[in-house]
Symmetry: C2
Subunit: 505 residues, 2 copies
């Protein structure tokens, strides 16, 4: 929390609930102005960098992050209480992500070069918007933070980036920001190509409102994301906000499948629920099951697995408190017909996974059940009739994902259900869990509102670059002055659409 | 104008300023609800139509429009006072546009099928959003109206369309809507795939706020477009608004070019200014010229051409009045140092083209000069020093287009100017005029705010389809249940990106 008189922020060690001594000054109004101006100046140079120059920069950032070695891993662990294995693997994901975008911009096909020849010669490609502000996530201190997917995709698009560090991991941010600055220096890029600032809501709002900022990437709560989206829409010149705000990721579990492999599926779902102490935006927060003996067996297995699970430490005090409050609210609800009895001895910030069981009618009677609970908790809704399942599907808000566990025989009969949920999700999964978001070309991590502010864009995978560009068309423009991607001789040897036909190289 | 007690609307003949007898009932709240519900129901069928089925529908619409014959041409002329040649050519543009989208969806490549194979099999493609509301333009009664680019691209994307007819051409709307209904019936599509309603702001707002509407296309004034954009952002579930709101389309004219071909360029620009009585969103509303003898000669030629031009009838009384008011405001401005003396005998709704000459300093001192004047009027700004030109470029708002008239020698020295204006426009033109917006793959008709509400999208050309779709990713989905575009055997024979590489067919 930032008090109105503080001039600095400090992170807290979630394992010990002690404040870490290092102080991080809150950016002043003047500093934020100066930071954005530097980004604008850097844009004038950076937007003209070649794909190879940008690729080298992104790869150098990855190298510099790796060069931080154990110091980075230990700092992340201190600030997040995440286990070492997770931190090391998230560092790998972060560096691979940077290298994937490096490959993308080095190849150069992504600019969507489109050419119509003729008396009126039209040549269109994607060009960068300008400086981008990135609001980082609490739950991925590396992969969705300072050098995470938003930063990597914006830098790949030729947009300078200003990161607002997450107050939970200020030291991690500083180490990674230093790595990026070092990479920029090694690549002879202007310093303003990247900056990070520390602050609270006031400083964040100043960034959002600054005329020099041209787009925003955000990962966090619906409350925070919606506030930023409204602010951005009310600017003199509105700008796009790409806010990934999470969802409850319904999982549909059908009887034939549970008959055959109920115990294995229970293990899969329970494991997915507990990943990162349930603090994943794709955590399964809603299980939909038919009233059937196989469902009772599944839920008994599920309960047993969760009861025997170890406690996990949550990321910060605010997340912990909200989790406890929501869990308490649901546990006391008279409508709940079954529940996993949580241990009452939760140490501060340590939690046990659990779930409640509800009828379809009760689920539909209270919209609160559709709110994301950020933590290892889920709601199992048992319906008596397919019509109830359809009613739930009709009622569901926008989601990042939906998952179907069924046999192939069962899913063939689910045409209407699948048709309904496909209008509400970004990703449909068959017999798998929603956690585990591959960084690749075909990934789509973004769903209809309120899962994302703009379900047309993904925050994971190479398509994330499309958030920070727009098309510009050059008409009868002299060849020597065209961007390389559009020149008649195709000097970059990229795939282009010419006169309506795709031309490979 | 719609009075609060009217139950119907009528169009006016702009040539005679007489009300056309035919009455068009204003849609009631219940009718609008029913219309949206029909569209939602139709979506359940229409979204599963094949590319060929949609192509046949779009081509049949074009055929049905042509089958209206002279009746349609005469109705448009009656309601708009546009000359017959223009109406016939706009009808051709409209039908060609429908056929271009038909070809696009029949080929099927446009869905951007992207596949990552492996243990986690990911398959992503673009799928339709749902029912789309279209607010039509005053200035293109066919090409940007009932069966115009917004409707054609939304139908191509598998989205049902509800058009709010423009009050200036209600009869034209009805004829074209009938043609679309007839095409839907011939193609055995549900009636709800297309509807048009009549009404004013209240009815428009009801459409924008209806939960069944998933996106909006709009062509019109910044005031109208901004109001709709705000409304849509404040919905419980915000939806995208693609508002094309026009701009002043600066034209940069440099001395070497004017020395060589000044008279020809004056004719070109004057002709562009007068097209459609200046009621084009790409009308050149700002000429930027260096203080140089060639500029004086150019402006003398320009003045002479405009003085000898014939009067043209404007589209409706409201546009005419606003044009006269703005022109009067500019003509009386003490800062104006030269002007084309308008004839004072303008008949009602008939206008003469004209311009005023300003210094750079005076232009920069009054933001009003950056507001679009919808009609045959432009502002010629003469600057003394390149720094003044740079200052104007820095100050310019977002534009649909910018044009440079120069020799190749001159443009090579304009790196900084071009770099600045490229961040502010959707299309850059060399030695041509901004009017004449080709309907093709490489066109981009959309610029940074306030030219468009979302400069990432075009309202003209095949890419316009991208406004009405979003990506969905299928993970480990059974092959037989995948959309055809994503099936392993590629039965549609479309270009797909597989494991990061583009695969032709």
């Amino acid at each position: 929390m930032v008090s109105s008189t503080s001039t600095f922020l400090q992170s807290t060690n979630p394992a010990t609930q002690t404040i870490i001594p290092e102080q991080f000054p809150i950016a002043s109004k003047e500093e934020i102005n100066h930071t954005v101006q530097s980004a604008q100046q850097a844009f004038e140079t950076y937007k003209n960098c070649s794909g190879l120059e940008k690729a080298t920069f992104l790869r150098t950032i990855a190298d510099e992050i790796m060069a931080l070695g154990d110091q980075l891993v230990e700092k992340v662990m201190e600030e997040t209480a995440l286990p070492q294995g997770r931190v090391v693997s998230e560092r790998g994901r972060t560096c691979n992500q940077l290298r994937l975008f490096a490959d993308l911009v080095e190849e150069g096909h992504w600019v969507d070069a489109t050419i119509d020849e003729g008396q009126t010669d039209l040549r269109k490609m994607l060009l960068p918007l300008g400086p981008v502000a990135v609001f980082t996530a609490s739950n991925f201190p590396l992969a969705f933070s300072t050098a995470g997917g938003d930063t990597a995709s914006a830098l790949a698009a030729s947009c300078p980036v200003i990161v607002k560090a997450h107050p939970s991991h200020l030291g991690t941010n500083q180490l990674v920001a230093n790595a990026i600055h070092s990479a920029a220096a090694k690549c002879h890029l202007p310093k303003g190509v990247f900056a990070s600032i520390n602050g609270g809501i006031k400083e964040g709002q100043q960034l959002v409102k600054h005329p020099g900022i041209t787009a925003i990437g955000f990962t966090g709560s619906p409350k925070g994301g919606t506030a930023i989206t409204y602010s951005a829409a009310q600017r003199v010149v509105p700008i796009p906000v790409y806010a990934e705000m999470g969802s409850i990721n319904p999982i549909f579990l059908f009887p034939e499948k549970l008959e055959k492999e109920g115990t294995r599926v229970a293990q899969q779902v329970a494991q997915s629920l507990q990943l990162g102490a349930g603090q994943f935006c794709t955590k399964p927060g809603l299980l939909l099951l038919e009233n059937h003996p196989s469902t009772d067996r599944f839920l008994a297995d599920f309960k047993e697995i969760l009861l025997s699970a170890s406690q996990q430490t949550m990321l910060n005090g605010s997340i912990f408190q909200q989790f406890c409050d929501k869990r308490k609210y649901y546990m006391q609800d008279k409508q709940v017909v079954d529940r996993t009895p949580f241990r009452q001895d939760d140490k501060a910030w340590d939690v046990q996974p659990g779930f409640i069981r509800l009828s379809a009618k009760d689920f539909l009677s209270n919209k609160d059940y559709q709110e994301e609970i950020f933590g290892p908790f889920t709601i199992a809704v048992v319906y008596d009739h397919p019509d109830e399942l359809q009613a739930i599907c009709n009622d569901l808000q926008g989601q990042l994902t939906a998952t179907i566990f069924s046999t192939k025989q069962e899913i063939r009969k689910l045409h209407t259900i699948v048709s309904t949920i496909s209008t509400k999700v970004g990703r449909l999964i068959f017999n798998g869990v929603p956690t585990g978001v591959a960084v690749s070309s075909a990934m789509h991590h973004g769903g209809p509102f309120p899962a994302s502010s703009n379900g047309k864009y993904t925050s994971v995978g190479t398509s994330a670059i499309q958030r920070f560009v727009r098309p510009i068309c050059f008409q009868n423009w002299p060849d020597e002055l065209l961007p390389e991607a559009l020149k008649r001789a195709n000097p970059l040897h990229i795939i282009r659409k010419v006169n309506g036909k795709m031309e490979l190289v």
